[in-house]
C-alpha cells in the first residue's frame, strides 16, 4: 500500500515537473505566472485550512513567512528577543484570525505583515523605547536567504522597494523610518529630530512621491 502511494506521489511530481519544463521551454514569463498561480492556489488552501484550525497548515504558513515577519519585527524593535516575542504574537494572532483574511481584498503576505507591524508598534509603545534608525543588515546578504519559491515578480518589486528606500536622501529616509517603522506622527518626528513641522511634512511628502514613482516605474 505504502509502495503504491509512493509511486503515485512520484508520478504526480514528474507530471508537475514535466508541465513546468514544458512551460519553461515556451516562455519564462509564462513559467513565472504558472509558479505564482501554483503558489497562490496552494496558499489560499493553506489559509483556509488554518481558518479551520489545521495546525499543520498553520506551521507550513509559519515556515513560509516567518523570516519575513521576523525581519520586519526586528527592524521595528531592534532587539532580537523582543522581536521573537512579537513574531510569535503575530502568528498566534494569525491562528485566531485567519478567517478574517479575504483573498479578494489583497495578497496574504502584506496582510500578515500589516498585522505584524501593528503588533510590533504596539509593543514599541508599551516598551517606550526607540531603537537605532539605521539598518545594520547588509541588503544583498539578507535578500539571498529568500527561498526560491518566492522569487515571483512581486518579490522582485519588493526588493526594488527596499533599494528605493535605501537610495532616498538620508533626511527623507530618516523621516520614513520614524513614521512608518517607528509609528511616529509628523509632529512627534519634528520633536524627535528638532526640525520644524513644515520641514518634516515636506521631506515625508517628497520621500513618498519618490517611492511611488519608483513603484509605478517597475
Amino acid at each position: 500500500m505504502l509502495v503504491a502511494l509512493s509511486h503515485i506521489r512520484k508520478g504526480i511530481f514528474f507530471l508537475k515537473y514535466g508541465i513546468v519544463i514544458f512551460l519553461s521551454s515556451r516562455d519564462e514569463t509564462e513559467l513565472t505566472r504558472y509558479n505564482k498561480y501554483v503558489i497562490d492556489i496552494d496558499e489560499s488552501k493553506l489559509i483556509a485550512q488554518v481558518a479551520q484550525g489545521n495546525e499543520q497548515a498553520f506551521l507550513e504558513i509559519y515556515d513560509r513567512y516567518v523570516h519575513r515577519v521576523h525581519g520586519l519585527t526586528l527592524h521595528i524593535l531592534g532587539d532580537s528577543m523582543l522581536a521573537e516575542e512579537v513574531t510569535q504574537d503575530t502568528f498566534l494572532k494569525l491562528w485566531s484570525r485567519a478567517r478574517q483574511y479575504l483573498a479578494e481584498r489583497g495578497a496574504f503576505l502584506p496582510w500578515l505583515l500589516t498585522m505584524a507591524r501593528h503588533v510590533a508598534l504596539d509593543r514599541l509603545r508599551l516598551e517606550k523605547r526607540r531603537p537605532a534608525l539605521s539598518d545594520s543588515n547588509d541588503p544583498e546578504d539578507a535578500w539571498q536567504v529568500l527561498p526560491d519559491h518566492q522569487t515571483t515578480s512581486d518579490e522582485s518589486r519588493w526588493r526594488s522597494m527596499y533599494f528605493a528606500v535605501q537610495s532616498l536622501h538620508p533626511d527623507q529616509r530618516q523621516v520614513i523610518e520614524l513614521a512608518y517603522y517607528q509609528g511616529l506622527s509628523q509632529t512627534e518626528i519634528a520633536e524627535v529630530l528638532g526640525w520644524p513641522l513644515g520641514t518634516v511634512k515636506t521631506r515625508l511628502r517628497a520621500a513618498m512621491e519618490k517611492l511611488r514613482e519608483n513603484w509605478t516605474e517597475k
Binding site: 495546525e55 523570516h67 498566534l92 536567504v145 519588493w158 512608518y180 506622527s185 511634512k201 517611492l211
Partner: protein, 246 residues
Amino acid sequence: MTYDEHTPFIENLPAYAIGALDAGDIPALEAHLKTCASCRTELAGYRIVSESMLTAIPPKQPSAALRKRLQNRLPSAQKTSRPRLVWSMNPSMIGLAAMALLLIFNIFSFVQIQSLQRQQTQTTKQTENNQTILALLSYPGIQTLPINAENITGSLLLDKDRNMAALIVWNLPQLQVNQTYQAWLIDPQGNRTSAAVFHPGSNEPFTSISIISPTNLSNFTGIGVTIEPAGGSNQPTGLRIFKVDY
C-alpha cells in the same frame, strides 16, 4: 473644487497613507475623501507604496526555538499538557491535598497522645503499686508467703491489719491481646472474689500487683491467679496459674 481647495488635503495624503498624519488632521481629511474621487485615487497610489514598504524589509530567520514555543501554544499541545498543569497548579487541588495532610497529621497526633496517656497511666499505676509494696515490705508485722508454680516463683505479702496484700511474681508469661491475668481472693467455702486484673510487666522480669481487700482480709484463706478474657470475669473461667493459701 479648485486646486487650492485640494492642496491641503493632497499634501496630507502621503502622511495619512503611512499612518503619520497628526490625529487632529485626520477627521477633515477623511471627510474630504468621502466626497473626492481624485484624492481617493491619489491615496490608493500611496497605499500601494505603504504596503510594499512592509515587504521591503530584508528577511531574517528567527531561532529554531521560536517554532517549538509556538507549537506549544497550539491546541494539540495544550491538550496534552493541560492535565499535568491543572494537577500541579490547581489551587483547589493544593488546598484539598493540604487538608488531607493536615487530617492525617491530626489523626497520627491523636493516636500518639492516646498511646502516651495509656503509658502514663500504666506508669503511674505501677509506681503506686511499687510504693505500696515497698510500704508493705517495710512494715514490721508483714507476712511473706512463697509462690511456687511451674516455671513461676515469687512472693505474696500480706498485711491483714490494713487488709492489704501484694503479689511479686517472676517469669509470668506474656499473654495474647484478648487475655488478662486476674487475681482472686478465696474464702474458706471456696468462693472467689475478684481482687485485681493485670498484665505482666513488659520491661522488668517480675510483675508486682497490690491488692486491697473489699472486706476483712482474714475472711479469706487464699489468693489465686487465673487467665481470663480481656477485661476480666465475674468468676474464674480460665487456666489457673497459681494459688497461695495463708
